[in-house]
Protein backbone atom coordinates (compact mmCIF):
# COMPACT_ATOMS: atom_id res chain seq x y z
CA UNK A 1 0.00 0.00 0.00
CA UNK A 2 1.45 3.33 -1.10
CA UNK A 3 0.80 6.21 1.26
CA UNK A 4 1.34 9.78 0.15
CA UNK A 5 0.24 13.21 1.26
CA UNK A 6 0.57 14.45 -2.34
CA UNK A 7 -2.26 14.68 -4.89
CA UNK A 8 -0.68 12.24 -7.33
CA UNK A 9 1.48 9.15 -7.43
CA UNK A 10 4.86 9.47 -9.06
CA UNK A 11 5.11 7.59 -12.37
CA UNK A 12 1.74 5.96 -11.78
CA UNK A 13 -1.65 6.84 -13.15
CA UNK A 14 -4.65 6.91 -10.84
CA UNK A 15 -7.37 4.78 -12.45
CA UNK A 16 -10.14 5.13 -9.91
CA UNK A 17 -11.03 6.95 -6.70
CA UNK A 18 -12.22 4.31 -4.23
CA UNK A 19 -13.35 6.55 -1.40
CA UNK A 20 -12.46 8.01 1.95
CA UNK A 21 -10.55 5.89 4.47
CA UNK A 22 -9.97 6.86 8.09
CA UNK A 23 -8.16 5.45 11.11
CA UNK A 24 -8.24 6.65 14.70
CA UNK A 25 -6.59 5.76 17.99
CA UNK A 26 -6.60 7.27 21.44
CA UNK A 27 -3.84 7.59 24.03
CA UNK A 28 -5.42 7.66 27.47
CA UNK A 29 -4.21 8.37 30.97
CA UNK A 30 -1.53 6.18 32.49
CA UNK A 31 -0.16 6.86 35.96
CA UNK A 32 3.28 5.46 35.18
CA UNK A 33 3.56 7.45 31.96
CA UNK A 34 2.11 10.61 33.51
CA UNK A 35 4.41 10.56 36.55
CA UNK A 36 7.57 9.82 34.62
CA UNK A 37 6.84 12.03 31.63
CA UNK A 38 8.62 14.83 33.47
CA UNK A 39 11.84 12.82 33.55
CA UNK A 40 13.33 13.67 30.21
CA UNK A 41 16.02 11.79 28.37
CA UNK A 42 19.55 12.85 29.17
CA UNK A 43 20.34 13.87 25.61
CA UNK A 44 18.26 16.40 23.74
CA UNK A 45 15.58 17.00 26.37
CA UNK A 46 13.18 14.61 24.66
CA UNK A 47 10.55 12.52 26.42
CA UNK A 48 10.90 9.19 24.65
CA UNK A 49 8.13 7.55 26.68
CA UNK A 50 5.61 9.91 25.12
CA UNK A 51 7.18 9.65 21.70
CA UNK A 52 6.83 5.85 21.82
CA UNK A 53 3.18 6.15 22.85
CA UNK A 54 2.46 8.56 20.02
CA UNK A 55 4.25 6.39 17.48
CA UNK A 56 2.26 3.37 18.61
CA UNK A 57 -1.00 5.33 18.32
CA UNK A 58 -0.06 6.61 14.87
CA UNK A 59 0.75 3.07 13.71
CA UNK A 60 -2.65 1.81 14.92
CA UNK A 61 -4.46 4.63 13.10
CA UNK A 62 -2.50 4.06 9.86
CA UNK A 63 -2.99 0.30 9.95
CA UNK A 64 -6.73 0.70 10.49
CA UNK A 65 -6.88 3.11 7.53
CA UNK A 66 -4.88 0.79 5.27
CA UNK A 67 -7.10 -2.19 6.11
CA UNK A 68 -10.16 -0.19 5.05
CA UNK A 69 -8.45 0.82 1.80
CA UNK A 70 -7.71 -2.84 1.08
CA UNK A 71 -11.37 -3.78 1.59
CA UNK A 72 -12.30 -1.13 -1.00
CA UNK A 73 -9.89 -2.67 -3.49
CA UNK A 74 -7.42 0.22 -3.41
CA UNK A 75 -3.64 -0.07 -3.65
CA UNK A 76 -2.70 3.46 -2.65
CA UNK A 77 -3.83 6.30 -0.42
CA UNK A 78 -3.29 9.87 -1.60
CA UNK A 79 -3.87 13.19 0.20
CA UNK A 80 -2.93 11.54 3.49
CA UNK A 81 -3.46 13.67 6.60
CA UNK A 82 -2.42 12.79 10.13
CA UNK A 83 -3.45 14.92 13.09
CA UNK A 84 -2.93 14.87 16.84
CA UNK A 85 -5.62 16.45 18.98
CA UNK A 86 -5.50 16.96 22.72
CA UNK A 87 -8.86 16.00 24.19
CA UNK A 88 -8.18 16.97 27.83
CA UNK A 89 -8.41 14.12 30.32
CA UNK A 90 -5.88 13.44 33.06
CA UNK A 91 -3.18 16.14 32.80
CA UNK A 92 -4.30 16.76 29.22
CA UNK A 93 -2.97 13.37 28.18
CA UNK A 94 -5.94 12.10 26.22
CA UNK A 95 -4.63 12.45 22.70
CA UNK A 96 -6.58 11.43 19.63
CA UNK A 97 -4.49 10.45 16.63
CA UNK A 98 -6.34 10.45 13.33
CA UNK A 99 -5.21 9.45 9.86
CA UNK A 100 -7.32 9.80 6.75
CA UNK A 101 -6.89 9.96 3.04
CA UNK A 102 -8.38 9.09 -0.33
CA UNK A 103 -8.10 5.44 -1.31
CA UNK A 104 -7.28 5.05 -5.00
CA UNK A 105 -6.58 2.32 -7.51
CA UNK A 106 -3.46 2.99 -9.54
CA UNK A 107 -1.77 1.24 -12.46
Amino acid sequence: MILTSANTLENKKIIEYKGLVTGESLIGSNIYKDLFSGVRDVVGGRTSRYEDELEKAREIALRSMEEKAETLGANAIIGLKISYDNLGGTMGNTILVTAYGTAVKSE
Binding site: K18, G19, L20, V21, E24, S29, G79, S83, M91, T102
Partner: protein
Protein backbone atom coordinates in the same frame (compact mmCIF):
# COMPACT_ATOMS: atom_id res chain seq x y z
CA UNK B 1 -19.20 63.92 91.45
CA UNK B 2 -15.96 62.12 92.25
CA UNK B 3 -17.25 59.04 90.42
CA UNK B 4 -18.09 61.13 87.36
CA UNK B 5 -14.59 62.61 87.45
CA UNK B 6 -13.02 59.12 87.68
CA UNK B 7 -15.10 57.90 84.72
CA UNK B 8 -14.06 60.91 82.67
CA UNK B 9 -10.43 60.23 83.57
CA UNK B 10 -10.80 56.57 82.51
CA UNK B 11 -12.40 57.51 79.19
CA UNK B 12 -9.65 60.02 78.57
CA UNK B 13 -6.98 57.42 79.37
CA UNK B 14 -8.68 54.83 77.10
CA UNK B 15 -8.77 57.39 74.32
CA UNK B 16 -5.13 58.17 74.95
CA UNK B 17 -4.27 54.43 74.76
CA UNK B 18 -6.26 54.07 71.56
CA UNK B 19 -4.60 57.08 69.96
CA UNK B 20 -1.17 55.77 70.97
CA UNK B 21 -2.07 52.33 69.57
CA UNK B 22 -3.25 53.88 66.33
CA UNK B 23 -0.14 56.04 66.06
CA UNK B 24 2.14 53.05 66.66
CA UNK B 25 0.15 50.92 64.20
CA UNK B 26 0.38 53.60 61.52
CA UNK B 27 4.11 53.87 62.17
CA UNK B 28 4.52 50.09 61.76
CA UNK B 29 2.49 50.13 58.54
CA UNK B 30 4.52 53.06 57.22
CA UNK B 31 7.74 51.25 58.14
CA UNK B 32 6.58 48.05 56.42
CA UNK B 33 5.52 50.00 53.34
CA UNK B 34 8.89 51.78 53.21
CA UNK B 35 10.76 48.46 53.49
CA UNK B 36 8.52 46.97 50.77
CA UNK B 37 9.08 49.93 48.45
CA UNK B 38 12.83 49.68 49.09
CA UNK B 39 12.80 45.98 48.20
CA UNK B 40 10.70 46.65 45.10
CA UNK B 41 13.07 49.42 44.04
CA UNK B 42 16.02 47.05 44.53
CA UNK B 43 14.43 44.33 42.37
CA UNK B 44 13.50 46.88 39.70
CA UNK B 45 16.92 48.54 39.67
CA UNK B 46 18.83 45.27 39.29
CA UNK B 47 16.21 43.74 36.93
CA UNK B 48 15.78 40.57 38.95
CA UNK B 49 13.31 38.86 36.64
CA UNK B 50 12.21 35.37 35.69
CA UNK B 51 10.70 35.05 32.20
CA UNK B 52 10.25 38.81 32.17
CA UNK B 53 8.44 38.90 35.53
CA UNK B 54 10.03 41.03 38.20
CA UNK B 55 10.36 39.04 41.40
CA UNK B 56 9.82 42.24 43.37
CA UNK B 57 6.11 41.76 42.69
CA UNK B 58 6.20 38.84 45.06
CA UNK B 59 9.03 39.71 47.43
CA UNK B 60 8.13 43.39 48.02
CA UNK B 61 4.71 42.69 49.61
CA UNK B 62 6.26 39.76 51.47
CA UNK B 63 9.08 41.94 52.88
CA UNK B 64 6.61 44.72 53.74
CA UNK B 65 4.34 42.38 55.66
CA UNK B 66 7.29 40.74 57.40
CA UNK B 67 8.92 44.04 58.47
CA UNK B 68 5.60 45.42 59.68
CA UNK B 69 4.80 42.29 61.70
CA UNK B 70 8.25 42.18 63.33
CA UNK B 71 8.06 45.86 64.32
CA UNK B 72 4.45 45.60 65.50
CA UNK B 73 5.31 42.63 67.69
CA UNK B 74 8.13 44.61 69.29
CA UNK B 75 6.29 47.91 69.79
CA UNK B 76 2.64 46.90 70.25
CA UNK B 77 3.09 43.28 71.25
CA UNK B 78 0.87 41.82 68.51
CA UNK B 79 0.76 41.76 64.72
CA UNK B 80 -1.62 44.08 62.95
CA UNK B 81 -2.50 42.10 59.86
CA UNK B 82 0.27 42.91 57.38
CA UNK B 83 -1.61 45.92 56.01
CA UNK B 84 1.57 47.24 54.36
CA UNK B 85 1.64 44.06 52.27
CA UNK B 86 -1.77 45.00 50.86
CA UNK B 87 -0.54 48.54 50.21
CA UNK B 88 2.56 47.21 48.47
CA UNK B 89 0.51 44.81 46.44
CA UNK B 90 -1.73 47.65 45.23
CA UNK B 91 1.34 49.84 44.51
CA UNK B 92 3.26 47.19 42.62
CA UNK B 93 0.22 46.02 40.68
CA UNK B 94 -0.66 49.59 39.74
CA UNK B 95 2.92 50.39 38.72
CA UNK B 96 3.66 47.14 36.86
CA UNK B 97 0.37 46.15 35.33
CA UNK B 98 -1.30 49.49 34.74
CA UNK B 99 1.43 52.12 34.31
CA UNK B 100 4.28 50.09 32.81
CA UNK B 101 2.52 47.29 31.01
CA UNK B 102 -1.24 47.79 30.79
CA UNK B 103 -1.79 44.71 28.61
CA UNK B 104 -0.80 42.15 31.21
CA UNK B 105 -3.71 42.41 33.64
CA UNK B 106 -4.66 39.62 36.03
CA UNK B 107 -2.41 36.58 35.84
CA UNK B 108 -0.67 33.90 37.82
CA UNK B 109 1.84 36.35 39.33
CA UNK B 110 -0.94 38.55 40.69
CA UNK B 111 -2.70 35.47 42.03
CA UNK B 112 0.59 34.38 43.69
CA UNK B 113 1.03 37.81 45.24
CA UNK B 114 -2.51 37.78 46.60
CA UNK B 115 -1.95 34.30 48.04
CA UNK B 116 1.24 35.41 49.84
CA UNK B 117 -0.38 38.54 51.23
CA UNK B 118 -3.39 36.60 52.46
CA UNK B 119 -1.12 34.00 53.97
CA UNK B 120 0.69 36.69 55.93
CA UNK B 121 -2.64 38.01 57.20
CA UNK B 122 -4.45 34.71 57.89
CA UNK B 123 -1.77 31.99 58.05
CA UNK B 124 -3.85 29.09 59.41
CA UNK B 125 -6.80 29.60 57.08
CA UNK B 126 -4.65 30.11 54.00
CA UNK B 127 -2.38 27.16 54.80
CA UNK B 128 -5.49 25.01 55.15
CA UNK B 129 -6.86 26.24 51.82
CA UNK B 130 -3.49 25.77 50.12
CA UNK B 131 -3.18 22.22 51.49
CA UNK B 132 -6.73 21.24 50.54
CA UNK B 133 -6.46 23.07 47.20
CA UNK B 134 -3.05 21.52 46.50
CA UNK B 135 -4.16 17.98 47.30
CA UNK B 136 -7.39 18.55 45.39
CA UNK B 137 -5.52 19.75 42.30
CA UNK B 138 -3.07 16.85 42.49
CA UNK B 139 -5.86 14.32 42.84
CA UNK B 140 -7.76 15.91 39.96
CA UNK B 141 -4.83 15.84 37.57
CA UNK B 142 -3.42 12.44 38.50
CA UNK B 143 -6.82 10.85 38.99
CA UNK B 144 -5.40 8.79 41.90
CA UNK B 145 -8.05 9.63 44.49
CA UNK B 146 -10.78 9.13 41.93
CA UNK B 147 -9.59 5.61 41.31
CA UNK B 148 -9.19 4.92 45.04
CA UNK B 149 -12.65 6.30 45.87
CA UNK B 150 -14.19 4.37 42.96
CA UNK B 151 -12.60 1.19 44.31
CA UNK B 152 -13.84 1.90 47.86
CA UNK B 153 -17.37 2.73 46.66
CA UNK B 154 -17.68 -0.45 44.63
CA UNK B 155 -16.47 -2.59 47.55
CA UNK B 156 -18.73 -0.81 50.06
CA UNK B 157 -21.69 -1.36 47.73
CA UNK B 158 -20.78 -5.02 47.52
CA UNK B 159 -20.65 -5.35 51.34
CA UNK B 160 -23.91 -3.38 51.72
CA UNK B 161 -25.73 -5.74 49.37
CA UNK B 162 -24.20 -8.86 50.86
CA UNK B 163 -24.69 -8.17 54.59
CA UNK B 164 -27.47 -5.58 54.88
CA UNK B 165 -29.80 -5.99 51.90
CA UNK B 166 -28.85 -9.68 51.56
CA UNK B 167 -29.36 -9.65 47.83
CA UNK B 168 -26.86 -10.34 45.08
CA UNK B 169 -24.86 -7.24 44.25
CA UNK B 170 -25.92 -5.87 40.91
CA UNK B 171 -22.84 -4.46 39.29
CA UNK B 172 -23.60 -1.50 37.10
CA UNK B 173 -21.91 -2.64 33.94
CA UNK B 174 -20.22 0.16 32.11
CA UNK B 175 -21.17 -0.76 28.60
CA UNK B 176 -18.53 -0.16 26.03
CA UNK B 177 -20.10 1.26 22.93
CA UNK B 178 -19.42 -0.79 19.83
CA UNK B 179 -18.31 0.65 16.52
CA UNK B 180 -18.28 -1.41 13.37
CA UNK B 181 -15.35 -0.12 11.31
CA UNK B 182 -16.20 -2.11 8.17
CA UNK B 183 -19.86 -1.07 8.17
CA UNK B 184 -18.86 2.55 8.74
CA UNK B 185 -16.41 2.43 5.83
CA UNK B 186 -19.01 0.94 3.49
CA UNK B 187 -21.70 3.36 4.62
CA UNK B 188 -19.50 6.42 3.95
CA UNK B 189 -18.40 5.18 0.56
CA UNK B 190 -21.86 4.23 -0.66
CA UNK B 191 -23.46 7.64 -0.50
CA UNK B 192 -23.09 8.38 -4.24
CA UNK B 193 -20.61 10.98 -3.16
CA UNK B 194 -16.83 11.43 -3.53
CA UNK B 195 -14.67 12.35 -0.56
CA UNK B 196 -11.29 13.59 -1.80
CA UNK B 197 -8.66 14.60 0.74
CA UNK B 198 -6.20 15.86 -1.88
CA UNK B 199 -6.47 19.33 -3.33
CA UNK B 200 -7.22 18.56 -6.95
CA UNK B 201 -9.21 16.05 -8.96
CA UNK B 202 -6.77 15.62 -11.80
CA UNK B 203 -8.28 16.25 -15.24
CA UNK B 204 -11.90 15.68 -14.40
CA UNK B 205 -14.34 18.44 -15.38
CA UNK B 206 -16.03 20.03 -12.40
CA UNK B 207 -17.94 23.05 -11.07
CA UNK B 208 -16.96 24.71 -7.80
CA UNK B 209 -19.79 25.27 -5.34
CA UNK B 210 -17.87 26.90 -2.50
CA UNK B 211 -16.56 26.01 0.94
CA UNK B 212 -18.75 23.78 3.11
CA UNK B 213 -18.60 23.04 6.85
CA UNK B 214 -20.38 20.60 9.11
CA UNK B 215 -20.04 20.34 12.88
CA UNK B 216 -21.16 17.76 15.39
CA UNK B 217 -20.93 18.44 19.13
CA UNK B 218 -21.20 15.63 21.66
CA UNK B 219 -21.16 15.74 25.44
CA UNK B 220 -18.34 14.14 27.41
CA UNK B 221 -19.06 11.31 29.84
CA UNK B 222 -19.49 13.11 33.17
CA UNK B 223 -19.86 10.12 35.47
CA UNK B 224 -17.47 10.45 38.41
CA UNK B 225 -17.10 6.78 39.29
CA UNK B 226 -15.49 4.57 36.70
CA UNK B 227 -14.47 1.03 37.56
CA UNK B 228 -12.40 0.71 34.43
CA UNK B 229 -10.66 3.67 32.85
CA UNK B 230 -9.76 1.65 29.74
CA UNK B 231 -13.44 1.05 28.98
CA UNK B 232 -14.10 4.77 29.26
CA UNK B 233 -11.35 5.48 26.73
CA UNK B 234 -12.69 2.87 24.29
CA UNK B 235 -16.17 4.35 24.61
CA UNK B 236 -14.77 7.84 24.02
CA UNK B 237 -12.94 6.70 20.89
CA UNK B 238 -16.02 4.95 19.53
CA UNK B 239 -18.18 7.98 20.27
CA UNK B 240 -15.75 10.18 18.36
CA UNK B 241 -15.69 7.77 15.40
CA UNK B 242 -19.50 7.84 15.28
CA UNK B 243 -19.48 11.65 15.55
CA UNK B 244 -17.02 11.81 12.64
CA UNK B 245 -19.32 9.65 10.48
CA UNK B 246 -22.33 11.80 11.41
CA UNK B 247 -20.35 14.93 10.61
CA UNK B 248 -19.28 13.64 7.18
CA UNK B 249 -22.84 12.65 6.36
CA UNK B 250 -24.01 16.12 7.43
CA UNK B 251 -21.39 17.66 5.12
CA UNK B 252 -22.50 15.38 2.29
CA UNK B 253 -26.12 16.43 2.72
CA UNK B 254 -25.30 20.15 2.62
CA UNK B 255 -23.19 19.75 -0.55
CA UNK B 256 -25.85 17.58 -2.20
CA UNK B 257 -28.45 20.25 -1.41
CA UNK B 258 -26.27 22.76 -3.28
CA UNK B 259 -26.17 20.41 -6.27
CA UNK B 260 -22.74 18.87 -5.64
CA UNK B 261 -21.54 15.30 -5.56
CA UNK B 262 -17.97 15.64 -4.27
CA UNK B 263 -15.83 17.36 -1.66
CA UNK B 264 -12.15 18.13 -2.28
CA UNK B 265 -9.44 19.10 0.21
CA UNK B 266 -11.52 17.47 2.92
CA UNK B 267 -10.34 18.32 6.43
CA UNK B 268 -11.61 16.72 9.65
CA UNK B 269 -10.85 18.39 12.97
CA UNK B 270 -11.44 17.32 16.56
CA UNK B 271 -11.43 19.59 19.59
CA UNK B 272 -12.91 20.52 22.93
CA UNK B 273 -15.64 23.09 23.40
CA UNK B 274 -17.77 24.41 26.24
CA UNK B 275 -17.07 25.46 29.81
CA UNK B 276 -14.11 23.42 31.03
CA UNK B 277 -14.02 21.58 27.70
CA UNK B 278 -17.02 19.41 28.58
CA UNK B 279 -18.02 18.73 24.94
CA UNK B 280 -16.22 17.25 21.96
CA UNK B 281 -16.46 19.07 18.68
CA UNK B 282 -15.95 17.34 15.35
CA UNK B 283 -15.78 19.51 12.24
CA UNK B 284 -15.53 18.46 8.60
CA UNK B 285 -14.86 21.02 5.89
CA UNK B 286 -13.89 21.18 2.27
CA UNK B 287 -14.65 22.56 -1.16
CA UNK B 288 -17.95 21.29 -2.50
CA UNK B 289 -17.94 20.56 -6.25
CA UNK B 290 -20.03 18.99 -8.94
CA UNK B 291 -18.17 16.35 -10.94
CA UNK B 292 -19.67 15.95 -14.38
Amino acid sequence: MALQSNLNNMNFREREVKITYLREAIFCIAFGTAVGLGVYGFFLYFHIDIFGWNLGLIFAPLAAGYAETILANKIIGEDIGAISAFILFIDTTFYSFILKNPTLGFNIITIGSIAIILQAAFPTLINYILLVGGLGTLSYFLGIFKRVTSYIKINLDYLYYKFIIKKPYKVEIETVSKFDEVASNLRLNNLDFYFITSTDILDRHHTNLGQFHATVIIEKDKRLVHANQKKVETTTLNTLKQAKDDCLIKLTESIKEAGGNCVVDLDIQYGLIGLGGDHYQVTAMGMGIYLS
